[in-house]
């Protein structure tokens, strides 16, 4: 791994793995088990179409529409489906709300369960052994690694996705955004805030909010 990257749970594959995956793909195509076009469509979907901008729309709507927010907290699957975000790995949704006194954090200690329709595929760190191990043991320490400091009185609730329920955090709307339209609010909503490792701040408010790669 080169020095200009963070170390993370991703090793450069041995060339043999690249070749092995290629060989398997060719074999499965020749056997008629998969089609190249289908593989390309799957990659295209999760690389470019389904991602955290969907979740950001859900959050911005909840911030501006109290009826939608009430529906979202009661029946997240239905409320999210009303915006067109449904399907694989989001069949059974629950939304958990951050408040002045409660901060929610989502993990999957056993694998990588994550709400695909609203957040896309999980980031490397979410699937990494250190995050999965520590989120349920030392959540404050985990948050500190993301530059997130909570007030001492804020209580942390960790959600371990051990079944097919998928969890989305409804982050707190930052102060100073009164009257903003939904679209502008959605631009503020980060993926990490919807997993619960960060809070949302206005640009310029918090230099630790979006750290640069070393």
């Amino acid at each position: 791994m080169s020095d200009d990257h963070h170390s993370h749970d991703h090793t450069e594959p041995p060339d043999s793995l690249t070749l092995k995956v290629k060989a398997l793909e060719s074999l499965l195509v020749e056997k008629g088990l998969v089609s190249e076009q289908t593989l390309d469509a799957l990659i295209e979907t999760y690389e470019h179409k389904v991602g955290p901008r969907n979740g950001a729309q859900v959050v911005a709507k909840a911030w501006t529409d109290p009826e939608f927010k009430a529906w979202l907290l009661k029946d997240a699957t239905g409320a999210i489906a009303s915006l067109g975000f449904t399907g694989r790995q989001g069949e059974h949704m629950q939304v958990v709300e951050n408040t002045d006194t409660v901060h929610n954090l989502v993990v999957c200690t056993l694998c990588s369960c994550y709400p695909w329709p609203v957040l896309g595929l999980p980031p490397v760190w979410y699937k990494s052994a250190p995050y999965r191990a520590r989120a349920v043991r030392d959540p404050r320490g985990v948050l500190a690694e993301f530059g997130t400091q909570l007030e001492p009185h804020v209580h942390i609730e960790v959600w371990d996705s051990t079944a097919e329920m998928r969890y989305l955090v409804l982050p707190q709307r930052p102060m100073g955004t009164e009257g903003w339209p939904e679209g502008k609010l959605a631009d503020l909503v980060t993926r990490n805030s919807m997993i619960g490792v960060e809070k949302i701040s206005l640009p310029g408010d918090d230099p630790s909010g979006d750290r640069e790669v070393l």
Binding site: T11, K22, L24, L27, K31, A41, Y46, R140
Partner: protein, 229 residues
């Protein structure tokens, strides 16, 4: 089973070192994209379910599981299932030369135009059952201590621990049996544990928090020792 995928609470793994969200790609190499798509596309043939797929990754040697990157574990899982389910033979793997066609198994590749609809529809695991739920919201429950053979969705850090049922999610496909190919309904509950019940640490700002875990009825027993089915 108790495998190395069951990571909750494991110590000594070092920092998380997240990449910055603003510049993190969805995939980090072309082979990751391909193994991701292959796993989904082959999965859509319906020869195994998601829990069998998880189990295939989990039952590697623990040191292999931990050493591999995420998508290397997907590679291992896919290869294991292709062989076990007879979709690909050892000889085919070794030679990369096809010896039999999908059609001889009564299978045909999913077409690209069907993908969007399938992904949007998803696959609900909610089921109807005649069985009445054995627990109610507010009940204290204890997680079963014994470790069953095969796939389980009980994380070991809550075994033997007492929590409170906060939510009855209805009856869902029971993952532990689904991994054996048996699609059976069991009531699923959202359970809250206090961190001090789990980790038995002294009270403090860093040691007091809640942990929610979703568990099925066979994972639980009444507090006081009367075993539930």
């Amino acid at each position: 089973m108790h495998g190395s995928h069951d990571l909750g609470g494991l110590e000594g793994l070092g920092p998380i070192s997240p990449e910055a969200e603003s510049c993190e790609p969805v995939f980090h190499a072309d082979w990751e994209k391909r193994i991701f798509a292959l796993t989904l596309a082959v999965g859509f043939l319906g020869q195994w379910n998601l829990d069998e797929s998880r189990h295939a990754r989990e039952r590697q040697r623990p040191d292999d599981y931990l050493r591999h990157s995420y998508y290397e574990n997907w590679w291992v899982g896919l290869k294991t299932l292709l062989l076990e389910k007879g979709l690909v033979s050892e000889e085919e793997f070794d030679s990369s030369e096809p010896q039999f066609q999908a059609s001889s198994l009564g299978l045909s590749a999913l077409q690209a135009e069907d993908i969007a609809g399938i992904l949007l529809k998803g696959s609900s695991v909610e089921m109807q059952t005649e069985k009445a739920p054995g627990f109610r919201v507010g009940d204290q429950v204890k997680v079963r201590q014994e470790i069953t053979a095969g796939h389980t969705r009980i994380p070991s850090y809550v075994r033997g621990r007492i929590g409170i049922i906060e939510r009855h999610h209805g009856a869902h496909v029971f993952a532990d049996r689904n991994a054996l190919g048996r699609r059976e309904a069991e009531h699923l509950y959202g359970i809250r544990f206090s961190s001090r019940e789990i980790w038995r640490e002294e009270p403090g700002e860093n040691t007091d928090f809640g942990v929610r875990v979703d568990l099925w009825e066979p994972h639980l027993e009444e507090v006081g020792g009367v075993a539930r089915k």
